[in-house]
């Protein structure tokens, strides 16, 4: 154990505190905003003292937005459900397709292998707007516009390359000898894949799945163009708070709190898989 002086400890605490404030303060502020009325929020100077209200959450959950101009219907809960459905189904499909593909790219050298892998990665380079116009035309033709299936398909552009490239790296880190040892023990290729390769790449698969989920969750333009109100996720749904009678900051804050919660919960849950370094000490040298 390294000896640390008192001064060093104090500096460390101060720095950690600064970093935490930098990253957590906006979340904290939005959390406070979600319990304020628009008037409280727009007061100058801003004050942390206010009478909390749950009217913002009420409006979101009941779907009735009461403003000066009258009552407005917002399908926020439906948007939230859409987000959950689109993101999770997209990630599950991307995992089913991407993990075996990542394994293939990691283990087998085949013709055009690198080119295919790179092409898949290049989907991440292209600005989404570039593909949206032709895509929306095609989707109209084959009837995929405004369907969950269509959106989930497009979301593969986001999720699949991410999973493929992250998981591939984890598979490459597993010594092939470990897999060979299992096969020599009499197990088939498929069993080796499911019992050895996938568990060992587990932390990587969890990390990639989580990242892909967050990327899908945060997507905006695909759903904006390709889906109508009842299929749209929260990112697009939040546009409804920019109303004719002004921007509903309170409701936006409440919507952010609600829509961040699922990703935050998943991140906290997956954290232990991300940290677990399974491969330690198994292979010498």
């Amino acid at each position: 154990m390294e000896h640390t002086s008192r001064l060093e400890r104090i500096i460390r605490i101060v720095l950690v505190a600064l970093i935490l404030i930098f990253f957590l303060f906006p979340i904290f502020w939005i959390f406070l905003m979600s319990f304020q009325t628009n008037e409280d929020i727009l007061r100058i100077p801003p004050s942390p003292f206010f009478t909390p209200t749950i009217s913002n959450y009420q409006a979101l959950i009941t779907g009735k937005l009461v403003s000066a101009a009258g009552t407005l219907d917002i399908p926020f809960m439906r948007n939230l459900w859409n987000s959950v459905l689109l993101s999770s189904v997209s990630v599950v499909i991307a995992l089913i397709l991407g993990v075996p593909a990542a394994y293939a790219f990691a283990r087998f050298k085949f013709r055009l292998g690198e080119d295919i892998a790179f092409t898949l990665l290049s989907f991440r380079f292209a600005p989404p707007l570039l593909v949206l116009l032709p895509l929306s035309l095609y989707f109209q033709e084959i009837g995929l516009t405004d369907t969950y299936a269509g959106l989930i398909w497009v979301y593969q552009l986001i999720a699949l390359p991410l999973i493929l490239w992250i998981v591939r790296g984890y598979f490459e880190d597993i010594s092939p000898d470990i897999e060979y040892a299992y096969r020599i023990g009499g197990h088939s290729w498929w069993r080796t894949f499911t019992r050895i390769a996938v568990p060992l790449a587990g932390p990587g698969i969890a990390a990639a799945g989580l990242l892909a989920f967050i990327f899908c969750w945060n997507n905006f333009v695909f759903a904006l163009i390709l889906a109508s109100a009842d299929k749209q996720p929260v990112t697009v749904g939040s546009l409804a708070f920019v109303t004719a009678s002004g921007i509903q900051y309170g409701q936006i804050a409440a919507a952010i709190v609600l829509s961040v919660t699922p990703t935050l919960a998943i991140a906290l849950y997956a954290q232990r898989y991300l940290v677990e370094g399974l491969s330690l000490g198994a292979v010498k040298g």
Binding site: A181, Y182, I184, G185, G186, L200, S279, G281, G285
Partner: protein, 364 residues
Amino acid sequence: MAQVEIRNIHKGFKSGAVLSDISLTAETGEIVVVFGPSGAGKTVLLRLIAGVEEPDEGAIFLQGRDVADAPPEARGLGMAFQNFALFPHMSAYDNIASALTARERSPAIIKAKVDNVAKLLKISHVMQHAPRELSNGQKQRTALARALVADPRILLLDDPLRNVDAKLRYEMRLELPSLLKASGSTVLYVTQDYKEAMALGDKIAVLLEGGFVQIATPTEVYRAPATLGVARLFGDPTINVIPAEPSLRDGRSVFDLGGVSLSLPARYAAVAGKSCMLGIRPESIIVEEAPSAESFPVEVVAITPLNEKSVLLLRTYDGREILAAEAGVEQSSRRIGAACARLDADAVLVFDAASGRRIAPVQS
């Protein structure tokens, strides 16, 4: 029937040929040590037999069956990897049991077999530990147990003692022969330690630059190495090599060393006039205080103890440095400085200077 038969195997990678025209047979219960320096292709050979790599040419027969199309899981062999290749997410017990679960359904039988092999290898107390909690010695034994547990007819061991400390290596070198013999398996054992090869092998196959140079018993490899290269690999300290062009005198080949004419045994008469390399094992050089017949003057330059032997670096009067090894001589009796050395002429090996092949003596 040979358990393992390799016929004219060729294998190359992008960087070039690794194995060319390799043939080898191993009979039931035989321990064949594949010995060679690192990079000779030993591991590749085992991987070809295990089915992890495919040969470019040639055929491999296991128990008489051509295994060209058989995947690793269908070859029915056991293998211990040099890097252990334990499954990090399974306990030592599950690691060992993994070699049984594919074929054996009954948990009771699996448990009995694993417990048995664990007891044999003295790792019963760590069966519930994960590989990362094991010491190197325990990892090595776990890997060995995994290879042994299913009683494979053919056992491939890839330098299993490479990554363990010297003490354990010494212990295992003593234990392994009886352990392997008891298993009744045909063993292919890869090592680059000549002592290990000599201690374990019924037969040593010396792999140099992608080909077998000699396949023979340990004694034969040591006493009658096929080439100078083989002679250099076996023995510590390494064999002294002295270039010479012997001339014929009184029906014997005579060569010059340190200003003195020394004669080879009569059966080497035929090498006179040829350009040769003489291989003289350090232990067949006898260092004496007083000169005697056929001894030549040397200067003892350095004395190094090596286990129970001491190694003497000698310099002849024409400046050639040779090594002598002696056992059982009181070390303190040796002094740096002038002395005399004598050869055990019977133990001199003669190699052709151009090809490096050993020239066999002609028995009269």
